[in-house]
Symmetry: C2
Amino acid sequence: MSLPAGARSILDAAASLFSRTGFDAVSLSEIASRAGVCKANIFHHFDSKEALYLDVMREACKCHAEFAEQLLLEPLSSTEKLLRLVEFEFHDMFENEARTQLIFREVLNAGSGKGREIAENIFQRNCNAVIALFQEGVDRGEFRSELDPGIAAWMLGASEMMFFQNRNILSHMPGMGNATVPAEYAAKVVKTLLYGLLPDNADGVAVDAAQFQRKPT
Amino acid sequence: MSLPAGARSILDAAASLFSRTGFDAVSLSEIASRAGVCKANIFHHFDSKEALYLDVMREACKCHAEFAEQLLLEPLSSTEKLLRLVEFEFHDMFENEARTQLIFREVLNAGSGKGREIAENIFQRNCNAVIALFQEGVDRGEFRSELDPGIAAWMLGASEMMFFQNRNILSHMPGMGNATVPAEYAAKVVKTLLYGLLPDNADGVAVDAAQFQRKPT
DNA sequence: CTACTGACTGACCGGACGGTTAGTCATTCT
DNA sequence: AGAATGACTAACCGTCCGGTCAGTCAGTAG
């Protein structure tokens, strides 16, 4: 905490406002008034609006993504690790909604965001750890040998992100039942991932990329 | 096409610009100059910037989401329908990038978007059709009876959306292999969904929501 | 006391924004 | 011919934005 109190309150106000509506929609006057400080003072502590935003992003990303890396080292089955990972991520996501929103926004607006590179970094780190977890499961024979760990990690991440981003409209969607509650949703996603769509007695279905190529019309 | 040529070109220019950078980051002067029209003329055809945006959204949503509804009626196995659905959606998504981007942005910024309700509508319609497809598979015994069709549809949609939104950074992610190509990605997602993570000979793993509840610390 | 420093402020700047106004011009209706 | 209409424009308006600047004030080192 080498920050002066003023800078601290500016950073906090900015984080809260930026997370709600993004960079463009937040004005410096808003930030200043919420921080209880005059607008010019922001420029005393930060070089520009963009620099402030980047500092906010950096701080939001700092303390993230260590859990998955640590989890890998523990003496558990891969399935058990998966369960704990999902439990942690759904927990953490809502514990720090503003932080999560900030990172997700940058990742999802992948094309143009100012803090994209910062957000991408933690996103990649997280993703790599989860991929390693699935890879371990495959190596141990706990997961099916044809499984692509990258895809599995990506699908899990996508399902989590979509839940967070759309939890408000999820309840308006018919057919989603009680999956609007984080724990219910998490359980169902994990179950679907583990067991897949096909019943045990089903014949195999051949699936390869050629089927998804654009057909000549 | 009862629209005057001027209004048409404004609508087209606006669609292209809004899809790239969103509502706030596009100015009316930009739209006007790209449409080859003076700014005031925009107000001759549209009531306000927001009204123009809503018209753009409405048009983008109009011709969407009929495919899935029609697919349901065809005499095919549910797995086959799933394959065709995914093939179509990955095809269509990139055929109409601007339109897709518009809709996804509104859906993902679920909190605050101006055209959210319009985008939600087509999103829900699409989702319902896919849920029905999975439900049919369960009813027919083609898919596992414990499967939640809502969750399956949601996971599929999430995986597709995440691919579209992050295709640019996907290639920078180690461990994703050739899944940066749409068809490869699609095939791997479908395979993972169909077969799940666990090998056929695996013991069942109990998964329920209680495991994902926040534990007291 | 003086000199200096860093936190902080009110007043201001140029520019871009969304939106308005008065008016031009070609076409069509009577 | 003349009235009316709809497409279109140049010039303009008030507002708010990000950013600047001159200066106040408390603390503190010499």
